[in-house]
């Protein structure tokens, strides 16, 4: 096989547990973002837009939805004779074989994939982040510095530096120290989890470290080891939009920022397109009774109700009299007549019955998982059903095919008060 200058490995096995029911049945990279996209579309599109045509996607946690989305890579033009996209799942080997125990361990377990491609450089990415970046520029920087490793960094406010892995660098941005979550930060260059490794060095480092650390990790083990060995590590400063949507609130917030008239993250540029699964992209229809403002609406929606300051995925149906406000409604949801949804996230293919209200009442944190649901946002899971005339409060979780009997009868009718959860185990398990 022709030797490739750089191939990419995309770590897409993370759960993203603080996203609650949104990652109940899918890995975080498969969560929707900005209406029609999935989080993984951003690094995948960056790869093809940067001229990288060989991408290995490492999956582990709930890979079905991710595998289905990526397929053979058609949306990203990654269906190639040579290279293209390859899903790399943990697997058994003659003697051993285990789940991926750390970021570097995951790469180590796929040495065979790397060897068969035998590239000059390896780009290691996370499938969790939303940004547009030209990796070709980063590679040029890597080569210009004759670097062994180049790490993309973001300049964060100094007072927040203590939450990140921080690179301390000299005047040429050569890294002399890496500190994970420093109490007294001396620099504000935070690692974005994007690395370019010289392949021969990566091989050597992975082999060495995996003998010592069974949970070999780039931040914790590999980078400190290479610094100790006085390798040439450089920080590549990235100055544009980059988001890690780790929590329900930050996920909601990052989506809402796209609605601004001039958002920081612009999806409307012609020459850095974000690609996503594109089997059917019909227009959206706005009915006679529709009222829509400050919102983003994806293909194939049919809207007869009112949508304000919200994000709609593909093929969402909003019936007459329904009001959607400050909410994220994902692909193929059905919002019934007269339903009122305020500050909620409705995952794909959910059915919200007629005259359902979501988001009323006091802001009480969720009783079962207060650390996840505490921002006033209620979440309805994938394929869930809320029957007609039910009222759901704030910080609630509804998951599964719920019936009237799952809700409490009060003087206001059937109700799930703020902080409550209705979780129905389906046959497939949750």
């Amino acid at each position: 096989m022709r030797k490739k200058e750089m191939i990419a490995l995309l770590l897409a096995g993370g759960q993203g547990s603080r996203l609650g029911v949104l990652t109940e049945q899918k890995a975080k990279p498969a969560v929707s973002f900005g209406g029609k996209y999935k989080i993984i579309d951003f690094p995948m599109s960056n790869c093809i837009n940067s001229g990288i045509d060989t991408v290995g996607v490492l999956t582990q946690y709930e890979p079905l939805s991710l595998n289905r989305h990526i397929g053979i890579g058609i949306p990203w033009d990654l269906d190639r004779r040579s290279g293209g996209v390859t899903i790399l799942a943990p697997h058994l080997r003659a003697e051993t074989g285990a789940f991926y125990s750390g970021t570097a361990n995951a790469i180590f377990q796929n040495m065979q994939y790397l060897e068969s491609n035998n590239p000059e450089n390896v780009l290691i990415l996370s499938g969790d982040h939303i940004y547009k970046m030209d990796y070709a520029k980063m590679l040029a920087f890597h080569k210009r510095n004759n670097a062994d490793v180049t790490i993309a960094v973001l300049e964060v406010p100094m007072e927040e530096a203590c939450r990140f892995g921080i690179m301390n660098t000299d005047v040429n941005d050569k890294i002399y120290e890496f500190v994970e979550k420093p109490e007294q930060p001396v620099s504000n260059l935070a690692s974005m989890g994007i690395y370019i490794f010289n392949y021969s060095l990566l091989k050597e480092a992975l082999n060495d470290d995996n003998k010592i650390h069974p949970d070999s990790d780039f931040g914790k083990h590999i980078i400190p080891m290479l610094l100790e060995r006085e390798k040439r590590l450089f920080a590549y400063r990235f100055k544009y939009y980059w988001k890690d949507v780790g929590t329900i609130e930050s996920y909601w917030q990052a989506n809402m920022e796209l609605i601004k008239t001039l958002p920081d993250f612009n999806l409307y540029e012609d020459f850095w397109r974000i690609y996503t699964s594109d089997d059917h992209q019909p227009p959206t229809y706005m009915g006679e009774s529709s009222d829509i403002r400050t919102s983003i609406v994806s293909e194939g929606c049919e809207i007869y109700g009112s949508v304000v300051h919200s994000i709609l995925g593909t093929e969402v149906f909003v019936d007459e009299g329904a009001v959607i406000k400050d909410s994220i409604i994902m692909d193929k949801c059905h919002i019934g007549k007269g339903a009122v949804i305020d500050r909620a996230i409705i995952d794909s293919e959910a059915v919200i019955g007629e005259n359902v209200t979501i988001g009323f009442g006091e802001n009480i944190a969720n009783e079962l998982k207060p650390h996840i649901y505490d921002s006033g946002i209620s979440v309805v899971g994938h394929l869930s059903v809320i029957p007609d005339n039910v009222t759901v409060g704030k910080n609630c979780v509804v998951y599964g095919d719920t019936k009237h009997s799952d809700y409490r009868l009060t003087e206001n009718g059937l109700e799930l008060p703020s902080g409550g959860s209705v979780i129905i185990e389906s046959e497939g398990g949750i």
């Binding site: 609605i259 227009p283 706005m286 194939g300 994000i311």
Partner: protein, 369 residues
């Protein structure tokens, strides 16, 4: 595979004016994200016809652009494929197609090298959804030599179509192209099924006699010799044949039944994907009874209109009963009413373009108002 397909996409139509100044009718954008040829192409692929030739002649650039990859319609496979035939120059001189039959004769090798028993021939100018399998089944059942698809005239202008009639046994009695008076209650849809070997035989016999037209020389000329039968189509069908009819058919996409049939129901009509971002509605937006293509940014008021992809509308602008094609920019404080804006038109701030439903105003591609 039972049949191969031929799509006749070479034509121009004077009545469409500037809309087809630089493109074939088949390449005309319709219904917010499609081009006319998508309907016949998708009908073929959805009916299991996976070897299709598109024959072009008139201003074929935009059609070629649209058909740049055959994968969008699921062709591009090891079996079958999408073939595009244009006139070319040879030792015998320039080979312009002298008629529809001639355009097939010039590409006879496509027919000869295939082994599918039947050929479905259709025009690329119509908007409809048809299962060609049913048509072929009917052709086989009636033991016809040629089957012609027809429909009852509902509100079509009979002067634009071929008036067709059948005798009591169902055989073709008469077919008259674009008559001045109404001679029949039925019109031909320009969709035919014929056995491949028979088509080759007929073409080889008529072309040396300088007979080049499929309707005149193959159908009418052989109506006594061959068993030419009809197949009635009752579904939605519209050909693009004039400016006001073009506006009307786009407006019909707003009707629930038409929209559901053409956009929502499977099998889908496929088109070249553009990977545009979602539509963005800013704070001053209002959109009622309209289709909006992806990548658009709406600041104004849009009513009863079909907007294609990547349309920008400014604040305090009104767009009503109009078709706005891909990439148009409409500034602030504009009024656009009963108008067809071809692609990439710029309407400067404060300008208005107003037509009537009978005579919509048309702004040519790329113009700045």
């Amino acid at each position: 595979m039972r049949a191969l397909g031929i799509i006749l996409a070479g034509g121009n139509n004077e009545k469409l004016g500037v809309l087809t100044q630089r493109r074939a009718v088949s390449a005309l954008p319709v219904g917010s994200c499609y081009r006319a040829v998508d309907f016949t192409l998708s009908n073929m692929t959805n009916s299991g016809i996976n070897k299709v030739a598109v024959i072009t002649q008139y201003h074929s650039r935009s059609l070629h652009d649209h058909l740049s990859s055959s994968t969008w319609w699921n062709f591009g496979r090891k079996q079958g494929g999408l073939f595009i035939f244009t006139p070319y120059v040879s030792n015998e001189g320039s080979l312009w197609f002298r008629g529809t039959a001639d355009s097939m004769y010039k590409n006879l090798i496509y027919l000869k090298r295939s082994n599918e028993p039947y050929v479905v021939i259709a025009s690329g100018n119509a908007v409809y959804k048809m299962d060609f399998n049913k048509l072929i089944d009917n052709h086989i059942e009636t033991e016809a030599d040629i089957t012609v698809v027809y429909k009852d005239i509902i509100d079509e202008d009979f002067r634009n179509y071929g008036a067709i009639s059948f005798d009591e046994t169902g055989r073709l009695f008469n077919l008259e192209e674009k008559p001045f008076e109404k001679v029949s209650d039925q019109i031909s849809l320009g969709i035919y099924v014929i056995k491949r070997t028979l088509l080759i035989k007929i073409l080889e016999s008529i072309i040396p006699e300088e007979r080049y037209d499929f309707v005149k020389d193959v159908l009418i000329g052989h109506r006594k010799m061959l068993k030419i039968m009809g197949y009635k189509f009752d579904g939605y069908w519209r050909a693009i044949d004039s400016v006001d009819n073009y506006l009307k058919l786009n407006m019909e996409f707003l009707q629930k039944d038409v929209r559901t049939l053409l956009i929502k129901d499977q099998p889908y009509i496929e088109t070249k994907p553009k990977d545009e971002p979602p539509v963005k509605y800013n704070y001053a937006a209002a959109a009622k009874n309209c289709l909006v293509g992806s990548g658009s940014i709406i600041n104004g008021n849009v009513q009863n209109s079909v907007l294609f992809r990547r349309v920008y509308t400014g604040e305090n602008s009104l767009i009503k009963n109009s078709v706005i094609m891909e990439g148009c920019y409409i500034g602030n404080n504009c009024i656009i009413q009963n108008v067809i804006l071809d692609k990439e038109v710029v309407i400067s701030e404060g300008k208005s373009v107003i037509g009537t439903p009978e005579e919509p105003a048309v702004v040519a591609k790329g113009e700045v108002v």
